[in-house]
Amino acid sequence: MSGTKDSDDELARWREEWSSLGGASELAEELSRRVERDGKRLRWRVAREVLACLASTALSGWLLVQTRGDARTVVISAVVLVFNGVWITRLLTLHEGSLRVAAAGLDAFVELTRRRLADDLRWIAFGRRATEILVALVAPWSIWVLVSRWDRYRAEPWRAFVGFGVAIAIFAGVWTAARRRRARIERERARFEELVAGKTLS
């Protein structure tokens, strides 16, 4: 009995000390302001992405009508539409995931976080694969352009440097960004599993 009472006294003492910590009175106001600001920024970002998708879809449609179904325009429009579809799906999936995960119980949170990280890795793998396919398509076309316009490029080499240089820089940038992001998420996943293992063993 005495052990239980000591233990209760100890907890009461700890609780008293604990409750004296913290207490900035203006905290609620400050946090509300920041959340409002962040919320606006987030909504704008989502709106910009959706608008960009809508604009590029509309532009593709307009080009299709203007060129009356020219083969090259059809191919480019198809690529744009597939990309937009994938992008919007990703946006909605991540948004839904972040809404569900916030207020979940711990076990559900662990499960949903694992799923979120796995989804993120799948999206990155998809992006890298799509980039590889695009490179496989663009590379022979670039060689063909280079050969067919060889005289022009010899006369004005800057055209080749700018044109092919920008394309190479874009692909290299996408490739590197995807690699970095994958490495970051894998680190995050390893750390998360470490924490979850600590939780289970404790």
Binding site: S7, E10, L11, W14, R15, E17, W18, S19, L21, G22, G23, A24, L27, A28, E29, L31, S32, R34, V35, D38, G39, S98, L99, V101, A102, A103, A104, G105, L106, D107, A108, F109, T113, E188, R189, R191, F192, L195, G198, K199, T200, L201, S202
Partner: protein
């Protein structure tokens, strides 16, 4: 002047009622002031995002603390290498001296030894002890963590023992060091 929507009013009320609890949870997970501030903002954003879906399935305190615990776990998995390095260094000090540097530092800086000891606990223990110190019952903690009361009782017992050991080990002997 824009009138506040009921959701905004509810959000502000939640923050002013539970702000101090959120601060303490943030402090038990983030040792650096800047990290603490980021974490607090993260809690607030997550509460704002989840609030429209909250239908009163649990108490508001449970709702707020559950979000805070989840975000804190995410913070620990995402935090940068700088903080991780500090923690690794702290762990190395513990291994070589047997003393907990966080508690020694808190004593030196006249900070809370209880908070420093809570920060030094493994995450599983830390979750339970911070909720226990917030005054939640085992049933409420089980609700926050989405686990059983028995599990909470076992973890709470171990966490309290670990906290006691940490605080006793660092009792000042012969004046502050």
């Amino acid at each position: 002047m824009n009138a506040e929507t009921p959701l905004e009013q509810r959000f502000r009320r939640l923050l002013s009622e539970h702000g101090r609890s959120l601060e303490r949870v943030a402090a038990s997970y983030a040792r650096v002031a800047a990290d603490r501030e980021d974490l607090l903002q993260d809690f607030a954003s997550a509460i704002w995002t989840a609030l429209p879906r909250f239908r009163g399935e649990c108490s508001e305190r449970t709702f707020v603390l559950r979000i805070a615990q989840n975000r804190a776990l995410t913070f620990l998995t995402k935090r940068g290498p700088v903080t991780a390095d500090i923690d690794d260094h702290a762990d190395a000090v513990v291994a070589s001296t047997g003393k907990n540097p966080a508690i020694a530092y808190a004593r030196k800086e006249r900070g809370s030894r209880l908070l420093a000891a809570a920060q030094a606990l493994p995450v599983g223990h830390r979750q339970v002890i911070t909720l226990l110190l917030e005054g939640l019952s085992h049933a409420e903690i089980a609700e926050v963590l989405g686990t059983t009361e028995n599990n909470v009782a076992v973890r709470a017992n171990r966490a309290r023992t670990a906290l006691r050991v940490l605080l006793e080990e660092d009792q000042p002997q012969g004046g502050p060091s």
